[in-house]
Symmetry: C2
Subunit: 407 residues, 2 copies
């Protein structure tokens, strides 16, 4: 991208730039630039006094974190796409950059090419964020879209995503929600001004979703998405979570399909805004990295480098048991008289009230029931499930998911 | 907003701020702040040496333009929501600000609280923009949504919008597309780096749309939106236009309903991105203005003021006759043998080929036909209409609109 759009990028920075050296892992890969530009000695790049800006696109905390820190200590501006590094060490690195009058930008770490971090830091900064919900991982959104549109089971959709190169051979980082949780932590840190500890982000992946659940959700007017959700729960405290979520089909996030990502947020003045686009891939990532690079160039020229307001560590988080939301529940019961009465009584004991229900007969003597509840505290809902299982009425709690009814 | 979120805004600027004086037109209106803060002498504000930043929220070119210019000449940073002023004089004012090391921000001029201008200037700046399409006026989108969902005619939907306060007593600025054309000019100036002259923006409003056209569009898989559309036509030349447009129901802009605004763009690296939210109203406008104000504050503190890259005047534009797109056409014909043959022949003479057709019989001897064409140069399409009317076969050309099939 720096080559293709070189003239317009130079014009937008207000000065020319030169790519000095490119650090690589694998020297045997064919490259489109002269061999003399490449090195496997990454340390030599962050120590090179002729380099003003370092772009870090390795991923992972080690050795990327040490290299970024060294680059800052050597007075180089840094642009990175490294979500895990920023989620875990962003506060410390941003403070280090600020203290040395340097820029540290990481727009590509969340949402690929979609502008999210900087709009939160700047154009939306005057708002108190009341809620954020994001589809922040293209792999899982692709899998869920396939399950919804083709009626595939998870394993089939995952295999297809792997065949198309959308999912890795070991898909854990995506399908178990780790990738989304890093991005949620970064967005929450920016929006609420303190770094969110990773163990404060509740996390569930999408492996447990079946095509049957997707069918029932559809019948009830919902689709199932892996959402990252953040909301304030008290002054200086938030609840940050990643899990499969039922959202109404009319919600704008429900129309975000395939590998697309989106962030929906509600601010106390701006109201609802949504950003969407391609959340991954080399070209969208390049778009974000080069946007950051242009800003660094302008700041070098204009004297505004290091003007970012750093955020401290230590955001307080609420446990998932404090969540108050609606739930989807699918159970199998022995089909005998009064089963619904028993269930209603147990729900009532834990303040769980019902908003919708679907029933069907399975084989002889057994039935499947799907419930949507009204909002209730998660601890109460979980307690009611234990009580149901102990009641002798419910054969199996097959599956349950949280529901977002906010439009 | 500055009062409500004062503490968090001060924290995000990195220093405290004080509202010094508020210029008003009408001294008799009740105000929530002490009377001593208000003045009708606007000149005294831009001349006050104790004021660092001026927020201009008057609208119109005169006297707002003179006041903004004077504020800059007096070394004050300026934040404005004035779309007409920036569309017509943005290049000159941005150059003036830059030459004095000052900030001139105008995020609120387009899309209300949705971050659009700054993401185009920064995070997306490395891209060549290949196409932009926006729903940039909430009043007309509300009217079209009502026509689509309630089956109202334009006059009824307009009256309802006026009753709800979404449309003014004189709705010309909105329904005839002037407001959208200012916003299109600003977005195009930022994205393509030169100020677009207002007479280079083709403009049509929504008064000619009937509920019948909306019904036919629906039947064909489309809805009708007032879009602002910009695309490059040659190096350093663009085609910028505002008109009712048929877009496929599956296009993300088709789901933008009521007073919501949205900008969809395609960049050569980022691919498709879309931004949506409330495009007008005092709270969303405040969100954008305060976001700009926070940036000005940070720049004052961090030394980055005036680092924006100014854009020159004189963008070259292509005439609408050079457009190549698809068309929707509704005509009335005398229902006699070979009418379709005559029409097909005339279309063929002008390279117009057909993609879809709907026909129905009106009263005895007359028929209504709706065509969707394949893409063709607008001049050819218009020539074909003249030929059809001269052929003796077509009784009336009832209505025609441009179609966007790009996903």
């Amino acid at each position: 991208m720096l080559q293709d759009n070189r003239e317009s990028i130079s014009k937008k920075i207000g000065m020319d730039f030169e790519v000095v050296r490119i650090g690589i892992r694998d020297a045997s890969k064919p490259r489109s630039l002269p061999a003399s530009m490449f090195t496997q000695d990454l340390q030599s790049i962050v120590d090179d006094p002729n380099i003003d800006v370092v772009l870090e696109l390795m991923g992972g905390v080690d050795p990327a974190g040490g290299l970024v820190e060294k680059a800052l200590l050597n007075n180089k501006h840094v642009v990175t796409a490294n979500k895990e590094l920023i989620a875990k060490h962003g506060s410390r690195l941003v403070h280090l950059a600020k203290s040395r009058g340097l820029d540290l930008h990481f727009e590509a770490a969340v949402g690929g090419g979609i502008p999210l971090i900087q709009p939160l830091k700047h154009q939306l900064a005057g708002n108190s964020v009341l809620k954020m919900m994001g589809i922040l991982n293209g792999t899982t959104n692709y899998i869920l879209t396939q399950m919804q549109q083709e009626g595939s089971e998870f394993d089939v959709a995952l295999a297809e995503a792997q065949a198309k190169g959308y999912a890795e051979a070991d898909p854990t980082n995506d399908v178990d929600g780790f990738d989304t949780s890093y991005k949620v932590a970064i967005l929450a840190s920016i929006a609420f001004g303190r770094q969110v500890p990773m163990d404060g982000v509740y996390r569930e992946g999408i492996r447990s979703i079946t095509k049957l659940d997707i069918k029932y959700a559809d019948l009830l007017g919902y689709c199932i998405k892996l959402l990252g959700i953040v909301e304030p729960t008290a002054p200086d405290r938030i609840l940050a979570r990643v899990h499969p979520t039922l959202i109404p089909k009319a919600h704008p996030l429900a129309s975000v399909l395939g590998v697309y990502n989106a962030l929906w947020l509600h601010g106390n003045f701006v109201g609802d805004v949504m950003f969407s686009g391609r959340g991954a891939g080399s070209d969208p990532t390049a778009s974000a990295v080069v946007g950051d690079f242009i800003d660094v160039g302008r700041n070098i020229l204009g004297g505004g480098a290091g003007s970012a307001i750093p955020y401290d560590s230590g955001m307080l988080t609420s446990p998932i048991s404090d969540l108050k939301t609606s739930y989807y529940l699918r159970i199998h019961v022995q089909d005998r008289p009064k089963v619904l009465g028993v269930i209603a009584t147990e729900f009532g004991n834990y303040d769980v009230s019902l908003a919708a229900m679907e029933m069907k007969t399975l084989d002889a003597g057994r039935g499947e029931i799907v419930f949507l509840t009204h909002p209730v505290r998660e601890q109460s809902f979980r307690d009611s499930l234990v009580a149901l299982q102990n009641s002798g009425t419910v054969e199996t709690v097959c599956n349950w998911f949280r529901v977002e009814d906010s439009q």
